[in-house]
């Protein structure tokens, strides 16, 4: 049942991306091109998405102790704004600004069958793996430094 609702949520997510045409990298890039022929559509995508999610979150989710299926809510509780977050956002912005593709649209484009989307996803996974290694490496260094001290 949980797997089915996850499937339906994913399906809806993909449908939203396709109807909003966020699956077209050039639609996204023309939204980011504010000094050129700016296309504001994506601002409306975000505004609509935020309105629905946010009102539902504060009215429905917050009133509950646990989700309809499952034992608890998995909501990130970290509040600290650290270098990882800032540097990560910079790199993500670079990649998104270059390609016009973020992870959701990358997946939604799989059925284009275009080899380029598969290569994009492969390099995206590689990037995630490298970031994971980097985090582990720096954590080890911190741990070693603490032991030395």
């Amino acid at each position: 049942m949980k797997l089915f609702s996850a499937f339906i949520a994913g399906l809806l997510f993909g449908i939203g991306l396709i109807i909003a045409n966020m699956v077209d990298p050039h639609k996204v890039l023309s939204f980011l091109d504010i000094t050129g022929k700016w296309d504001a559509s994506l601002a409306l995508v975000m505004a609509a998405g935020l309105t629905i999610f946010s009102s539902g979150y504060f009215l429905l989710v917050k009133a509950r102790k646990k989700p309809l299926l499952g034992e608890r809510f998995f909501i990130p509780e970290r509040q600290i704004i650290d270098n990882k977050l800032l540097v990560g956002a910079i790199f993500f912005g670079l990649g998104w600004g270059l390609s016009g593709i973020c992870p959701g649209p990358a997946l939604a484009n799989v059925l284009t069958g275009d080899i380029k989307i598969f290569v994009f996803i492969a390099f995206m996974l590689m990037g995630m793996y490298c970031a994971r290694l980097l985090i582990k490496l720096t954590q080890n260094k911190v741990a070693v430094a603490q032991i030395v001290e």
Binding site: N21, Y57, F92, F123, A131
Partner: protein
């Protein structure tokens, strides 16, 4: 304004918001695509099956939208270096920064999370500057 499509944008955005809301309300999970993708490769002890269901849902979405007249682009009209470097940076940055457009941009800002608000402002600004440099100075 070129190619402004307000109706599709509002409809698509509402469906995205509804998807993220239902997923949190029913499964208790955040619809952050980068985390779902990276988490789906972790060990089976981590029970990643729901992540795979979500991913299969996104991939099959065109089969639903085709009959109502919304299609994927015919092909991905980007150069190879952009595909390769862009893909790597999107993966690297979203993992390091714990989120992407969906996790930070919709679910995070929607919860008024300070981390997500800061992250979204930064990646939006950097993306806008990147497009400016590539399109107008390149």
């Amino acid at each position: 304004m070129a190619n402004f499509t307000p109706f599709e944008a509002l409809l698509g955005g509402s469906i995205l918001g509804l998807s993220a809301l239902l997923f949190l309300l029913i499964n208790g999970r955040i619809a952050g695509i980068s985390s779902i993708v990276s988490g789906s490769f972790k060990s089976l002890a981590n029970k990643p099956q729901w992540r795979w269901s979500f991913i299969v849902g996104i991939i099959l979405a065109p089969l639903v939208t085709q009959p109502i007249g919304y299609y994927l682009p015919k092909h991905i009209d980007l150069s190879w270096p952009v595909v390769i470097i862009g893909g790597f940076l999107v993966g690297f940055g979203s993992y390091l920064g714990s989120g992407c457009t969906s996790g930070h941009g919709i679910c995070g800002i929607g919860r008024l999370s300070p981390r997500s608000i800061i992250a979204t402002i930064i990646f939006m600004l950097v993306a806008i500057i990147t497009v400016f440099i590539v399109k107008h100075l390149g």
